[in-house]
Symmetry: C2
Subunit: 500 residues, 2 copies
Amino acid sequence: MSDTLKQLRERFGEIYDLSGALTIVEWDQLVMMRPRGAELRGEVVGTLSTILHQKWIDPAFGELLAKGAEETADRPDADPDKASIALATRERDRLVRIPTELASEMARHGAVAYGIWVEARKNNDFASFAPALEKHLDLHLQYIDRFPKTEHPYDVSLAQYDLEYTTAELNELFAELKRGFRPIIDLVSANPGAANDDVFLGHFPKATQAAMFNEFSLACGARADVWRLDETVHPFETAPSMDDVRITTRYYENDIASGFFGTLHETGHGLYEDGVDRALARLPIGHGGTHDLHESQSRMIENQVGRSRAFFDYALPIFQRYFPEKYGNVDAETLYRSANVMRPSLIRVEADEATYNMHIALRFEIEQELVLGNLKIKDLPEIWSVKMQELIGLTPPNDADGVLQDVHWSGGAFGGFVGYTLGNVIGAQLWPLINADLPDLDAQFAAGEFLPLREWLREKIHKHGRTYGTRETMRRIGIERIDPEPLRASIAAKAQEIYG
Amino acid sequence: MSDTLKQLRERFGEIYDLSGALTIVEWDQLVMMRPRGAELRGEVVGTLSTILHQKWIDPAFGELLAKGAEETADRPDADPDKASIALATRERDRLVRIPTELASEMARHGAVAYGIWVEARKNNDFASFAPALEKHLDLHLQYIDRFPKTEHPYDVSLAQYDLEYTTAELNELFAELKRGFRPIIDLVSANPGAANDDVFLGHFPKATQAAMFNEFSLACGARADVWRLDETVHPFETAPSMDDVRITTRYYENDIASGFFGTLHETGHGLYEDGVDRALARLPIGHGGTHDLHESQSRMIENQVGRSRAFFDYALPIFQRYFPEKYGNVDAETLYRSANVMRPSLIRVEADEATYNMHIALRFEIEQELVLGNLKIKDLPEIWSVKMQELIGLTPPNDADGVLQDVHWSGGAFGGFVGYTLGNVIGAQLWPLINADLPDLDAQFAAGEFLPLREWLREKIHKHGRTYGTRETMRRIGIERIDPEPLRASIAAKAQEIYG
């Protein structure tokens, strides 16, 4: 290995470790830390972020990357050093535009605003969160200002999540989705009595839920000596490395569905991190892939696996073992239909497949307007209500179930929501290809065998980490363009089956 | 504030935050992380340690400290900037002697060796841990070599823990302790039937223990919105800041005493961190004091409080509430006598007050010999047995209950054990002074009122953080020299009461 590449590997390792430390410190803040620690934790996050930022923008690092790119020009694109240099160069080009002070203030304010959001949500009081959000928006606009003018300023918001699509392209995609899903939403809204999810309601002690969820997660391929499952207000997945994967879920003791599907969703994310080739550790490409690809994996485990008919042949006896009184007389078909109840809901993370993307459309449209300056923070609750009514047919009774429901804005995260819809779309495009390679998938699910699916995903997607972007990963699998039709068709079929 | 002091405050803050990050990452490794993560976690710890070390040894920081010392020369010693500059200057002078590579290797190896120790202890196999310990000793000798020659090379080992006493002084102290405690150990060994701790044996579900221990910890003054109590193999306390205090304990379901006194012990440590003046946050003096002072606080809550007769008047109904069948017919006097059973034991952390310091003497003597090169790692199990027999009258049946019992060596920590004995000695010296100021202490304990004691400790000791060293803190309270007699006398009196 040349001296340049050796030096680059050292710097890559240092950045990987610092990011890992930040991941742990932030996970700890959300999962373990007592509330009083928030203010000084904000300082820790700020200092680590600043140091990390300094490491990235160091001019000597830029020179090494340029030299490294030259040295590896003749290698294949998948060569770990070449791919790492390409990714780090893109990331660095983005970061050099951001002054250290701005980056640090964004991180610091994220830690503080999170605490404010938790309180505001608990007290159902958007006004107390508004100033923190105002500041986040202001910082985000400063961020956008640092980039060359794009067709839409929101293109910059999207690009920070490595999304390879423009605002215009996505507005087209969402127009198509809104058109395509309108009849589905109308169908299920017209027949609300056709199915219900009472079977998920009852009394479910938290500890029993946790044990059962963990069992499902392990069955899907989580490694017991690598993964943790914990509780948070808002479920998430994070991984300091492929050897240390953490998912969280929530527990409603009167409703098991939320925690159950939340766990499956985060398990999908975790499998991506867990599956990255160990040889890529401490390289920029040594984490799970782009935001939308990542989301395709989580939605796949949640929906294509966890809401399939076959899955419940396997899951029923497990539900019965943990909750014998509740599920002793329930059959798999009932669980399946209940898992696929489509009923417009106020809460995105509990939305069914018919309306999920409308929740995203709402946020996507609001964020564009915020960034354009066409919308004031104080008007958010109102516009939220209006759009909620227009897209989903519901009006939130309060802020907690409306504009305050998501954690994202408390971290100043504008631009990432559409990744969820892209994930849905991509997952649905992948599914026929997977079924072509694994024709026995249903029989496997019914038997509780999920490792063949994990191996397919690992081989085609996970193990490469961030070697390829979204478009290239899909191209290598045989998908040339993003297409909402498979998603629409599959949901329409399910809606027809249950509500037709 | 002058520009120099402003710049120093920034650098102090950065160092405080990085140390806080390291604290969290290491706590997480011991408490939360799954085992597979250890190797890459070692890299994170190494990288953070390296960056922290670079911040400390930065020549510009040294110049700022010198300028700051000049600027603050006329201020009182307790001035936060002056005291911080003095402490940081001492710490930096120590650190500039250590090459970054050595510091980083020590930290990195600590993370790896911890995992090896856990396995070795579980498998009762010292040989599998020996190479890791060998490497720690080698690194420690390299460390010692970086300092000016001292009377005894082990003086350097002691100084790294901010211990203000030399090997020679401590050998005298331990000679006195060995002489003074011999008759006590003989007395209790001659009457083993005079007391027993059967009352702590039985069946105690882990979750119930945890809830009860937490209640005691809160009663002693732990703030619920600041503290965590978790489970580890080896109890410890750590605090990223005064707003974020973490203690751990262990749970033996057949023996409640270990976890109970462990919790009280760590609570004493936690109160020190919790009590540091919030205004000292992000300054070098903004943590709990020196190792031996710290230990005086933990041993005080464990022994002077938790093993007092009055304490059990308060504690009995709580034991009865959590474990009604077990404690329904027990009286406070029985709990008190059981808590003070003196019975030579193989395990330091479970040792009674009569033999505790002999456990330390053993380690103190072994470490001196290791550092002098008079003792080989492979001979440790044997020398351990010999000294255990000589000092305590017992021979360990295996490595797990002998040389592998403590976590310290897995982190390469040589020189710190004597802090525990110094803590015992100092705590016993403080106790008559506290009782003079708070004559109602027994009545307060019996009523479950521990806040007056906490306030005394906070006012005299905790709130100052690391403003003063051990000797100066004691001098300000009215103690001119370290003296083992109060400790000996108090244990001798208790031994006489129960075994006489």
